[in-house]
């Protein structure tokens, strides 16, 4: 498995997981399916980008930073869209999205060993 594919799969998996954590917020529970789908898609794109970056640049610190940046950017794109109540949940979406982006950035640098 090459790094972009690995990043895509890992990003999607973590995106599903991150989306499901919305269940702990009762106010957004009715919109859980949409959140999970959006989060999965975000993770998929971010993972693919991180994997491609890892294929070109072999540096764990840079990989983490890149993943964090891409995760933050994609999370901002989603957070910028108003919710059903018209509110924006920047912190709630961007913070965990950034950290998960960093996780994918790290993982694609370390694994798999084949580019």
């Amino acid at each position: 498995m090459n790094k972009p594919i690995f990043g895509l799969l890992l990003g999607a998996f973590l995106g599903i997981f991150d989306g499901l954590t919305a269940w702990f917020t009762p106010a957004v529970r009715p919109f859980l399916m949409g959140i999970v789908i959006g989060s999965t898609f975000k993770g998929l794109i971010g993972g693919l980008c991180a994997g491609y970056f890892a294929k070109k640049v072999h540096s764990v610190p840079l990989g983490i930073l890149f993943g964090l940046g891409v995760g933050m950017l994609l999370a901002y794109g989603i957070a910028a869209m108003p919710s059903a109540t018209g509110e924006h949940y920047y912190f709630a979406i961007m913070l965990p999205g950034s950290v998960l982006g960093a996780v994918v950035g790290y993982a694609t640098q370390r694994y798999p060993t084949q580019a």
Partner: protein, 299 residues
């Protein structure tokens, strides 16, 4: 008499012991050390223009047996070409009848001196692996060192690690005079101290003691298990080869399971986390962010 101080006596002894290098292509330098059998000097090889270490038989050890021992040591060194074993350049007899051999002069510190600087356990393990390489190499060529101890390990200025003093090394299967004990108390294997036949496992025992001394009194449990297995009194219960011993130390360094140690679930988790420290911290960061968002940011 007041003028016969210790330093004067030492100086006189050095002068009396100094070899006669007439006819040899060496110029004598300072004395580097002395053992029971020989004295090691720094010397200048005038033919090749380099500084060497010259090991000369002590005047008090001028017997045929001592000469044969020195030649055997020289032959062993000549047969073991390895970066971790001091290469021998020359051997012969001086004009005063004393046998000698010339070897590479190693500049650096002995392992016992290095240990006083208090290096980390991980660094010590890396150095230990470097010590195992020439020993395993010698075993593969049928030679057992029999006197492995910190004083016989040199750490060079450029990070090289060399095993010195193969003076009591023996070929596997060779036996000594009955009852003759060869080695250093505290490091030699029980079978060696009982003047019994020794094999590579005797060096494994010495390396285990060396590792025990290097890592101190409170090493990680896996390392303690490695030391325990290497220093088993029964050779059959020890690591059978230096490669097995160094393999376990390498596994420890790599956060892999160690054969000598049966870990509990907590140790296993700590080992896995140690191997993936960055990932563990990132996951912790994610969970902390989630918890903080749950408690402080409610949509």
């Amino acid at each position: 008499m007041d003028w016969l101080t210790n330093s004067v006596i030492d100086h006189l002894r050095e002068a009396m012991d100094a070899p006669d290098l007439t006819g040899a292509s060496y110029v004598l330098g300072k004395e580097l050390g002395r053992g029971g059998m020989g004295i090691v000097y720094e010397a200048r090889d005038t033919r090749l223009g380099r500084t060497v270490a010259l090991k000369v038989l002590s005047p008090l050890a001028a017997s045929a047996e001592a000469v044969e021992r020195l030649w055997r040591e020289a032959r062993i060194l000549a047969s073991l070409e390895h970066p971790g074993i001091v290469p021998i350049h020359d051997a012969g007899m001086l004009s005063d009848g004393r046998a000698y051999y010339a070897m590479k002069l190693v500049e650096g510190s002995r392992l016992d001196e290095y240990l006083q600087a208090g290096p980390s356990v991980l660094e010590l393990c890396r150095v230990f692996l470097r010590i195992c390489e020439p020993v395993a190499f010698a075993h593969a060529r049928g030679i057992v060192h029999r006197d492995l101890k910190p004083e016989n390990i040199m750490l060079g200025k450029f990070g090289e690690v060399l095993v010195l003093d193969w003076g009591v090394a023996t070929a596997l299967g060779e036996s000594e005079r009955p009852g003759l004990v060869i080695g250093t108390p505290g490091y030699m294997a029980p079978e060696q101290s009982e003047a019994g036949p020794v094999d590579a496992r005797a060096d494994v025992y010495s390396l285990g003691n060396l590792l025990r001394e290097a890592v101190g009194t409170a090493p990680p449990r896996a390392l303690r298990s490695i030391v325990k297995r290497a220093t088993e009194l029964d050779p059959a219960r020890r690591y059978q080869t230096v490669a097995e011993l160094s393999g376990d130390v390498a596994s420890f360094l790599d956060h892999q399971p160690v054969n000598a140690h049966r870990e509990n679930w907590l140790e296993r988790a700590a080992r896995v986390l140690g191997r993936h420290k960055t990932l563990a911290w990132l996951i912790v960061a994610y969970l902390v962010v989630r918890v903080l968002l749950f408690f402080f940011v409610h949509p």
